[in-house]
Amino acid sequence: MSDVVEKTLTALPSLLSLDSQPGAAKLSSTSKLGNLIRGITELTSKHEEEKLIHRELASIKEQVSSPNTSMRQMKELMVRAIYCESLGYEASFSYIHAIKLAQQGTGLEKRVGYLAVSLFLNENHELLLLLVNTVLKDLQSTNLIEVCMALTVVSQMFPKDMIPAILPLVEEKLNHPKEIIRRKAVLALYKFYLIAPNQVQHIHNKFRKALCDKDPGVMTASLHIYLQMIQENAEGYKDLTASFVSILKQVVGGKLPIDFNYHSVPAPWLQIQLIRILSLLGKNDQRTSEIMYEVLDESLRRAEMNHNITYAILYECVKCIYTIHPKSDLLEKAAKCIGNFVLSPKINLKYLGLKALTYVIQQDPKLALQHQMTIIECLDHPDLIIKRETLELLFRITNTQNVVVIVEKMLEFLRMSTDDYTTIDLVGKVAELAEKYPSDCVCFSYKNYTYAPDNEWFIETMNTVFSLSGDTMQPDIPNSFLKLLSEGFESVEEDRKLRLFAVDSYVTLLKGETGKLPQFFLQVISWVLGEYSHLSEELKPATVLELLQKLLDRKQTSSETKSWALMAMTKLCEGRAGVSVAQQVSETYISSMDTVLRQRAQELQHLSQDSELRARVLPRDADLEPLEVDSSLSFLDGFVSEALAAGAAPYKPPHQRQEELSQAKVLSLEPYGLSLPISMSSCSIADRQSPTLLSMSSGLSGDSTDLSHKGGSTTLKFEGVKRVWGKEGYLAQKESVEEAVQVEAPSPLRSTSQQAEVVGSHSQTPTLTPTPEPEQEKQQLASSLFFGISSQSSVCLMGKSGPTPQRFRRKAKGQSSSSGATEQMSNSVVFTSTTVDNLLCNNPPDSTITSEVDVSSSKHTSELPQGLTAANGTCDIEAELTDSDLKGSSPPLSGDNGLENADPDPHENLDKPQGVCLSSHLPAELSGLCRSEITPLCTLQNLDLSACHVHREDTIVLVVFITNSSDSAVQHIRLDLDSELLEVSCVSESPAKDVRSVAVYLYSLTVRRPAVHVELAGTVSYQVPVGTPQTAQFSYKLPLTAFIRPLTVSTEEYGTMWLAFSHDTKQNLTLINDGQEPLVATLNVLRKKLQLHVVEVIGVEGILACKLLQDQPCLMHFRVHEGALAVWLRSPVPDLPDCLIYHCQRALQEH
């Protein structure tokens, strides 16, 4: 067979050689590719082409797999395979050979191999792993061309996980003597930055070097990176503004070699890039903007309108001028420029002019007036793109006066448009406009039509929108339309009219030809008729029912629409005629294959017979109170508790079930809750009774609320939704039953879908068994509910936790007091301003640090954000921070821990003035370290006790200050501290030397048994000269996180430790989704807040380690699974994993 093929193929050229064309003449007549191509061009039908290509592919396949094929032939075969692929025929058999060719070939063969690989594969393809070694080898090659090839393929695609393997080599290339290689290396690094930003964190400085490269080409390449990074975080690069400005100045001034000119414009692409960067930097920043005014002016002046590319520069300038802090004379020039664009006969420039106008119109609406006529002309432009751009512009300047006309124009365009994308986009915009200005009494005379105020116009516009949109509409448009209709506007009478008009117009529509109406529209019509057709006096329900029935009978009606129609009928079926129609219809659909339809038919049947029930379930004119959705599904509580009482097994989360299956190990049933001291606090919840682990954490989050409020406002706990469902499902508890009863009372429902839900659940209840599937759903609901509550409570606790505390944290690492940080600190809610003051005034002894900071403070502030970005790295960052730590003060401890502990309860903040003085009494060796706020412990007649805890690397030090507030001396002060959970040892005591001075007691703390919070109880006793001895009790509480330190282990060590530890906990946490890769972002937050060590992150998994002081390790394994973060903690210490999970949760919620 293949022989035949071969013959056919070799025969082809002789047939075709007659019409050899000039381009083809250069080819050797024996080229097989040439043959193939000529063969294809001769063919007339797609079918023949397919046949030919398949034969060709078969022959290629045979040859590539033959061992006798030389590399040279392979190269040729590969080109043919590329050709076939580009025509859309798959040649997957050749992929592996492409890799082989890149591996084994030399020179040109390698080049073809790399090209084929980069065309065939994508970065997720498994075969790509085979290429890594080849790339590694070629990067080290002495042959520059091979290095170039490797860099090119790397920047095209490279498996993310393998980046670390080649990163050092690519970095090395940044110092290569050849500029082309430096340039390619920069772009390859940029690519790495795009796909795995954290991998290249540490080479930001090298990017800077690239920016300063002596070759402008390398500098240009580095601008790609800067554009991207500045887009993400402009604050971090403000210091480079002057550099960019000076580069641009020199480029514009023609300082670059003539070689860089394009149509005698110096490096236009470079200019464009620079101006873009400047506009990002100068946005909302007057000071930075001022630096660039001059060069922008210069650019505007230099770019004389002579060539396409100068317009490109001008356009960027104009956009930049309107983006940065405004300067009037520049704006004037820019406006003139825009005018030139808009008025230009060149259509591309007109397009850009319109774009620019759209961009600036909000700032300068007058500009639109100036170009009014041009805009009107553009509306009738033959080019649809121009037209659309004009509509976009009009959309931005819509107001009550012009809305009618603009909408009319848009609809006109919609009627002509055939492009789905445009239609969807425009429909959305029209709907937005129509909804924005419906009742603003638009009384407007246009082309002799007087538009009646609002209602009719609104309904008609929406009708047109619905009927034009086809079925491509975004579903939120009908939703918001219905919402608008049901919620109404200010006046009841207006609302009635609006609805009435809608009903009338829909009845008319349904009476006409309904065949072309899109399904969405029919659904809207059904709903409106069901809900509001009773408003119309002359309209009989029977008529509407008939219309709906007609709709049901149509073949084109989708089953979703049918169920909407059935629901509408359910609302309308009254009177004898109605009931009979309903019976008829429901009989038809009660046996439908579609379960939803069947259910609706059931409902219809039942409700049409029982008018009382119907009135209750579907009250007419239901009040518009927002519906309370019981997302905890508490109405099922009764059912579940019954089931439990009847002996059903309690719900277990999936991982628990799995574990039970996999290991025969018996679950530890010891009551977790009891190990936690907080569960003894006033509002201990019945959750504790639940044997499962997770219910404990649900209890925890509740408790944490009252914890911080110290019983002051226990009410918060009972507000909001009841915590009836824990993470793992229903929490057996008695109190919840009565709560559930309230919820179960049928609330008047308005929205149909929710009605359906309730009706559905009523009918389903009897058959419901506690199977895992629904439980799981509930679990999801519950978990969202759970998080909702606790996040709420954390808001009260912490105030806003925005990026500000994060900034501060970075600062606090180096030194806990710095004037540079002051501004930022005052932003942070946690650290109240008084503390800042106290830090400022009370730290003179550590003059070295302070003074240094003072000097460099301004600098620090500007550099700070960059430090932040650097701090986002995962593994390398610890080292970096330690290096940069000032004066070997403490190892980097995030100030956060201390801050979190600082109880921000308002009444305690009243004691601030005292705190101010107290911090000055902090022993010198502790003053540089991060610590919690000083909180008062107790106040006696003569003495005030306050305390704080200071984080040291290897221990936690509790500092107790005793101040004598009276004038008489106090003697024999005795301080006793005790704790079930902590070991307390006294480090030093420095009794007060005289009256009114402060005695400072230091204690070192070690955890005996972990708990979420550990509490110390203390007694102070003393004697005043005249009088009896006095005693007083106090307590002090610290979170467990204060005792957590990073544990540096390697992955191997981690592995062995993991197997050795017996206590574990699993739970799902929410992922943080703020643009970055969620796993990395989440781990970073945890790492920073909890002092963890990131051991390794691979793909969707990450492992972290930490230790509880002194040496009690805890290992954490994180895996991203279905949008959540599955966490598995192991430790030799009982309870430690549970407590850490709690803190992880807290940390993520506060983020």
Binding site: G23, Y83, T106, L144, S243, I386, D883
Partner: protein, 192 residues
Amino acid sequence: MIKAILIFNNHGKPRLIRFYQYFTEDMQQQIIRETFHLVSKRDDNVCNFLEGGSLIGGSDYKLIYRHYATLYFVFCVDSSESELGILDLIQVFVETLDKCFENVCELDLIFHMDKVHYILQEVVMGGMVLETNMNEIVAQVEVQNRMEKSEGGLSAAPARAVSAVKNMNLPEIPRNINIGDINIKVPSLSPF
């Protein structure tokens, strides 16, 4: 960033396809078809920009194209590229092709598809504009072609030729860079 570069002829036959973002094979073909459909409808006297191919990701993306005789050159880019800049980049690319092939025509692109790819690689690398200077691009391509010639002699005198290839240097285009003028302030690295 440039997401894709498509070259097809007036009948929609793909001549060069380069995606810088992963799409499945079917998706790629669909994108080519849709792009052709969009572009071919347009007259020569309308603007060279198109918005909203629904396939390559929505409103942020733009098609920027030029029509030369029998070929359409279409660049699909996101908002970080300048429209007119790309338009001129296409021009640079085509002029480079013209220089390399001496009066380039559609057939050159068909028969030397691989070479066109190599030229493109020197202009756009991994979706980023690498070089806009035509002479520089041509010089880079020529070095590679020289490798081709020297390879011809490989079988004859293997050892010598291999060493010749090894020692071959990339062209040093004298640029007369008076970079001393561009005194970018070396930013002081933040003293943490």
